[in-house]
């Protein structure tokens, strides 16, 4: 029943040994119970170790009650577990407890910042909320490789406030044009929102360059950590960003839970997004006073079991060690990239010499990605096809869709080889020879 991973001798170059990965896999019931499955779609959602749903079940069986309300001992126990989960996840990213706000997912976390800015712009909040007020003449800057979740909330914020949206473009190979930072991010820029790791290409952004430029012009930084927090050691204080959003379900946790990190002084100055119960101090028929962060942003009954499941997930990742997870995935990613490059008619998409996580996105000449994905599925290989919620990036790359294989700590070298062998047969099946 115990699904805590067994510590073993570290292998510094590749992080984990194949034997260790074999033992880790035993903790993932879906992987062991689905014969022939080669799951290479963890960029979309990860599989979950048994300890995650056992933690949720344990909570429902032993401690279920409403948190932060009620005087009975069960409510106290539930509140303790809920807050302990916050502490665990905050520590995992190097944040303090009151700097981690629970949300449903990263999309909600990004919308929380955008709508709080909107509310500040409409006059809510005191003088300290000035930093969040936007209007005509102000600019919000994103990048061309963003997931729609880190683009559309800013487009909408621009519409609501009269601010302008600008972006750092990508070059033809999908790399960010960092030499444009200085002319795109200017004194007019109030918010700089960008991804830590591209969900399409797996490439790692030079966060320090973005943060340095944002600080030079006094802009707030919002980092999309969806693809970095699950796969790399992430310390928000070392990254020195103002906000970071991430999702639980991509990092071994349950669906329905994500989080927003924010600097304490910013969260406490920001007017709330969702309002209602549990986020107030005094309420009259005319007005309300709000609690400080994080409760300020957690209106209504929260996703208690999911937070406890996510805490179990970060416990599992900590036990393995994020350095080793990252090294193993880098190893798998390099094996995928090298293997795909060798297959006739297969083109790896993205810049060649950039650091990336275990993600390989590719095109098979003459075969549409949907057909590639369908063929791979018939061989048990699960990958993602389509625009991966990044239409502007695909347009910049000159394609409408791509095929993406993405790893996690439970993937083996055999998984990568199964992918490569299936991809090698795609063109033959569809009768493409030239």
């Amino acid at each position: 029943m115990d699904s805590t991973p067994t510590p073993a001798v570290a292998s510094p170059e590749i992080g984990l040994t194949p034997a260790e990965v074999g033992r880790l896999r035993a903790d993932f019931p879906l992987l062991t119970q689905t014969p022939g499955l080669v799951y290479l779609d963890s960029g979309a959602t990860s599989q979950k170790p048994r300890c995650v749903f056992e933690a949720e079940q344990h909570y429902y069986e032993r401690a279920n009650a409403a948190v932060h309300r009620g005087a009975h001992s069960l409510a106290v126990e539930a509140t303790d577990q809920y807050e302990a989960a916050r502490t665990a996840v905050a520590r995992f990213i190097g944040a303090d407890d009151d700097e981690l706000v629970w949300t449903s997912n990263a999309t909600e976390a990004l919308n929380l910042v955008a709508y709080s800015c909107s509310n500040a712009s409409a006059g809510r909040g005191d003088e300290a909320a000035e930093r969040f007020r936007l209007g005509p003449g102000d600019e919000i800057v994103v990048t061309e490789l963003e997931h729609h979740a880190n683009l559309i909330p800013w487009q909408e914020l621009a519409y609501r406030t009269g601010a302008t949206l600008a972006y750092i473009p990508v070059a033809a190979d999908g790399s960010l044009e960092l030499d444009r930072l200085d002319d795109v991010v200017t004194e007019r820029t109030r918010i700089l929102a960008f991804t830590h790791v591209s969900n399409v290409l797996g490439t790692i952004t030079d966060v320090a360059a973005f943060v340095a430029r944002a600080k030079a012009v006094g802009a707030l930084t919002v980092l999309d950590g969806c693809q970095s927090v699950p796969h790399l050691p992430v310390d928000v204080k070392a990254l020195d960003v103002d906000f970071m959003a991430f999702s639980g379900h991509k990092m071994l946790g349950p669906t329905g839970i994500g989080a927003l990190y924010g600097r304490r002084e910013l969260l406490n100055a920001m007017p709330p997004f969702l309002t209602g119960g549990s986020m107030i101090t005094t309420v009259t028929m005319e007005r309300a006073e709000f609690l400080p962060s994080p409760n300020r942003f957690e209106a209504g009954t929260q996703r208690i079991a999911q937070t406890i499941g996510l805490a179990a997930a970060v416990g599992y990742l900590d036990e393995v060690g994020m350095d080793r997870v990252a090294a193993w995935e880098e190893h798998l990613g390099a094996r995928m990239a090298a293997g795909l490059t060798e297959i006739d008619g297969v083109r790896l998409i993205g810049p060649g010499s950039v650091e990336r996580i275990g993600t390989a996105t590719f095109a098979v000449d003459g075969v549409h990605p949907h057909d590639v994905g369908q063929f791979l599925d018939s061989r048990g290989v699960a990958v993602r096809v389509g625009h991966h919620c990044a239409q502007p990036l695909h347009r910049a790359l000159g394609v409408t869709a791509t095929t993406r294989a993405s790893t996690y700590l439970y993937n083996t070298e055999d998984d990568v080889d199964a992918l490569l062998s299936a991809v090698a047969d795609v063109r033959g099946f569809f009768g493409v020879t030239s």
């Binding site: 990605p369 949907h370 057909d371 018939s378 625009h387 869709a401 099946f429």
Partner: protein
């Protein structure tokens, strides 16, 4: 036949390459024509399809179906099959064929298609077992239906 071979029957793979009806053609002067653009936001597949007739009644003959677009082999083959079958039928007949095709695609693999009527279109019966791909097959057929309505307005 394996599931994959039911989905990708040889007729479908052939049509995906032949792409009958491509590219988009200018209608002859005096011929009523209608057009429709369809887009599948899930995968980005899209098609612009034009229907050219010799009149505006249900008895009018379809002179030509032409299109431009890009997408997976299922969507491209469906557009090709449609273009080949539609030419020479009447407006009323094509609308009936579209209904039959749609019914087959919604059958989740249970329909026994009438090959005499649906011709190469019957090869798509296997696609109906793959709910994620039904929309690929329907894209051009929905475009044709809308183009016929558009032509009636002209």
């Amino acid at each position: 036949m394996s599931g994959l071979e039911q989905l990708y029957q040889q007729i479908i793979l052939d049509h995906a390459k032949r792409r009958v009806g491509e590219p988009l053609a200018e209608p002859e002067a005096g011929h009523p024509a209608g057009e429709s653009h369809q887009h599948n936001p899930i995968c980005g597949d899209e098609i612009r399809l034009r229907v050219e007739l010799d009149g505006t009644t249900d008895a009018s003959t379809i002179e030509r179906v032409s299109w431009e677009g890009n997408g997976c082999s299922i969507s491209m083959a469906a557009a090709s099959v449609l273009s080949e079958m539609a030419a020479g039928t009447t407006r009323g007949e094509l609308l009936e064929l579209i209904d039959e095709f749609r019914e087959m695609m919604r059958s989740r693999g249970t329909a026994e298609p009438d090959e005499e009527r649906l011709g190469d279109g019957a090869a798509f019966a296997g696609v109906s077992k793959f709910p994620a791909r039904v929309k690929c097959a329907m894209l051009s057929w929905v475009a044709a239906e809308n183009a016929l309505l558009d032509a009636a307005k002209a």
